[in-house]
Amino acid sequence: MTTMRKRFYELATRALDDDPRTALVLAEIGASELPRHERVFNVGIREQLMIGVAAGLALEGLRPVAHSYTPFLVERPYEQIKLDLGHQDVGAILVSTGASYDGAQAGRTHQAPSDVALLSALPGWTIHVPGHPDELERVFAEALLTDDRVYIRMSEEANEAPVHADGLAVLRRGSASAPVVVAVGPTLDQALAATRDLDATVAYLATVRPFDAAGLRALVRGPDVVLVEPYLAGTSAAEVAAALADRPHRLLSLGVANAELRRYGSGREHRAAHGLDAAGIRRSLEGLRLPVAA
């Protein structure tokens, strides 16, 4: 299976030819994978400028796509994202690569598990966490047609099969009192494996902002909700709390721990360390003392 990153470069190259509004803004990363083109602007290793230039292009009616490794795209130029895009009231598509721990061997400097929380704290962002390259293709194509502020978080982790849905998509339905497990993006296959013999409803979510509160309300009948997010644990906890504010409920938020994990190794090892593999998710669910299905 092709990676999301490779698919993104193919899609971006095609978009440059198909739509004269499309512009790519890069800070070296990705420059060698994309064609030389009058609307590909590589600003060098200057990430503040990358976002400022994207804003200037947007003010002139272009549809900028800025792309880099997650910490250099979201964290380093955070004030530019807030002001040059948000406060100027213009849009851009930010496409990150690296996710939370794809750069396990690279260490903390190349990891940004708080990216979704940071962008969620700014108004007007649509946030996609695709779990498969085909999902990336769909949300990227849709984002190009708007002038919205859109963040697309690519990952080397992916599910076996794509799920195409705008909000929560139910993949397994448990009994009325069963917990609702919301698996975000590339965590789906692990969440399904973890709940294989449990009485649980498993729903998939790839667009986390705006959060599908109505979908969650329609789905939740019992007291238990479990969030499985491939970034900072609890990032969507307030969204769940708001959606279910009038109902007694219990929320278990699984995700990447806030404490710095000073280890190298593989993404798979980091996933296990954060309890986001099937075994780890299972352990957390057992902590809820859920009944095992007969």
Partner: protein
Amino acid sequence: MPTTTTLGYDDLPTLLTLLTGDEKHDWSALSTLDVLWVLYDRVLRVDPRELDDPERDRFLLSKGHGPAAYYAVLAAKGFVDAESLADFGGYDSRLGYHPDRVLVPGVEISSGSLGHGLPIAVGMTLALEARDQEGARVVCLVGDAELDEGSNWEAVQLAGRLGLGRLTVVVVDNRSSTYHWPGGIASRFELEGWSAATVDGRDHDALELALTTTGEQPRVVVAEVAR
């Protein structure tokens, strides 16, 4: 409703008094006043009746703090209603202590946090180049202390290397940067491939000449004013 007749330089003190309620202030001390007046009166091709004209010049006030002179000039030139100046900073006013492009007609960018205007100006310039837009210069005003922000230099470097000739930066230099610029401000831009002029920031003719000189390189005009 915009004013139908535009006002002159001599009307600016009246507008500034309306803005601030201060009748005794020596308005000539405002560092940006003469530069802004020369830009709007003699240099920029902008028209309050055609705010979205693609051929208009883009003026970006990056140094967004202390915008009284900016609002006064915008009022004199008919972009904002002179009567609206009296509520400067009020809850219902569109004129805040830092300008907001969403609220004020003719204001190209919202500013206030330093070091954001010039990178945005580079993006606008690249967009105009990409579509071969006729006319349409991009002029960005920064302060000498604002240049402390490293984000400016990211933009200065790229604009120089790419030869963005339709971009002009005006540095209003009132020596307010704590650590100053040894060797001068202009030479730093020149090293990055800009053409530079340093002029008296109160001399309207000198400002006009420096600001209307353009070429293949981006242009910086350092306007020196007493602090």
